[in-house]
């Protein structure tokens, strides 16, 4: 098995073609080993921007992983990802199926890791629940419709989700980030 590491990730400011998006991940050139993340809005420019970068960075990583699978990488660690790709007829390019498959997979696997990373960037000021909103940002509709949480098929509770919004707001209003980065 050979892992191809010669991929290029570009991060730049740019337009996301009127999508209303804060940022977008362009995997249209993944066949040439290139993924470009465009930032259209940095939001408040603190932890929310970090969460946006993580979200788009995960898209980029998934693009890379699936492209490597085409080159013979063992997909057994991410069975559901390739299953979702199959179900949504995703092409691993700029297509609606790829968008759906990647977000569904992110709702299954990346909400807590994003929340945890933001908690760390914020210097562990609150418990993980306060950061779950950052993880669910962009993925909530997938959560409401149903996702796997540690192998269990459940849906995100809307009251719980509303609470995450409130906690996220509190975190953003009081954070010192990016000041905490330099400590």
């Amino acid at each position: 098995m050979e892992i191809y590491d010669d991929y290029i990730l570009n991060i730049t400011y740019g337009y996301c073609k009127r999508s209303g998006a804060d940022a977008c991940a362009d995997g249209g050139e993944i066949g040439n080993g290139i993924v470009t993340i465009k930032i259209e809005s940095a939001g408040l420019g603190t932890l929310d921007f970090a969460a946006t970068l993580l979200h788009e960075g995960i898209h980029a990583e998934i693009y890379k992983y699936v492209e490597e699978h085409r080159n013979g990488i063992d997909p057994s660690n991410r069975t559901n990802l390739l299953y979702y790709y199959f179900q949504y007829k995703a092409k691993n390019r700029l297509d609606l199926g790829t968008t759906e498959a990647q977000h569904q997979y992110m709702a299954d696997n990346f909400v807590k890791p994003i929340a945890s990373a933001i908690q760390q960037l914020d210097g562990f000021r609150y418990d993980l629940e306060h950061y779950m909103g950052f993880g669910w940002d962009g993925l909530r509709e997938y959560g409401y419709d149903g996702y796997y949480d540690n192998g269990k098929w459940i849906s995100l509770n809307k009251d719980e989700s509303s609470d995450y919004y409130i906690k996220q707001r509190n975190v953003l209003l009081t954070t010192n980030f990016p000041g905490t980065c330099e400590e």
Binding site: Y15, S19, D48, H55, Y83, D137, E141, D145, G146
Partner: protein, 204 residues
């Protein structure tokens, strides 16, 4: 005599212009309606992957999945639409498209003015609640939208010389971190505007 001929020509040309504008408005309304029905529909989550599970676990998971999926069928969506068709923020590269589409791309690139989009004129087969998108739907501290399930937006629409082909960029998103944008190509077939091709432009 000359006065009457010139007056007649001007009147004829003005009438043609009115007819052309009216036809274009009707075509735009139909194209947006077709796109709306295509993009606003709810995409259900994929059925669970039961590979490697025993029958008991498989049935339990399938039952949970079916219950969630069935509840989605009756869920009424609130769809926000940006009430203007905008010119492109940055021009599309004509060379990214095959020669049969370049006239439409060139015309799309050259459209400069925004145009109002009257959502009351949408002719949709769906039973969503459609609202004009505004600042009130943005959350200050989250990328998600407030009180809408989806946001749809459309660019200006370009038509070919014959008026039987069109191109438009449309976006659908459930959040500012979950959206998909593509250019859609239409052709008038049997008196109906039909999507004949599309190309993804961005995803977030």
């Amino acid at each position: 005599m000359w006065y009457f001929i010139i007056f007649g020509c001007v009147t004829f040309l003005a009438a043609c212009q009115d007819y052309s504008t009216k036809n274009e408005n009707l075509a735009e309304q139909e194209i947006i309606s077709v796109l709306y029905d295509s993009l606003a529909k709810k995409i259900p989550p994929p059925p669970p992957n039961l590979h490697g599970l025993n029958i008991k676990d498989s049935l339990r998971i399938l039952s949970q999945y079916n219950s969630i999926r069935d509840s989605l069928k009756f869920e009424k969506q609130i769809v926000g639409i940006i009430p203007t068709m905008q010119p492109l923020e940055s021009k599309l590269d004509i060379m990214d498209f095959n020669s049969s589409k370049r006239e439409l791309i060139h015309r799309l690139n050259s459209l400069k003015e925004q145009k109002p989009l009257n959502i009351a004129e949408l002719r949709t087969l769906r039973s969503d609640s459609v609202v004009e998108f505004g600042e009130q739907h943005l959350r200050e501290f989250s990328a998600d939208y407030y009180q809408i399930n989806k946001l749809l937006s459309f660019s200006r629409i370009s038509f070919n010389e014959a008026g039987n082909e069109a191109a438009v960029i449309a976006s659908v998103g459930t959040s500012r971190l979950a959206s998909f944008t593509a250019i859609y190509f239409f052709r008038r077939i049997s008196d109906k505007w039909t999507i004949v091709d599309s190309k993804g432009l961005s995803m977030s």
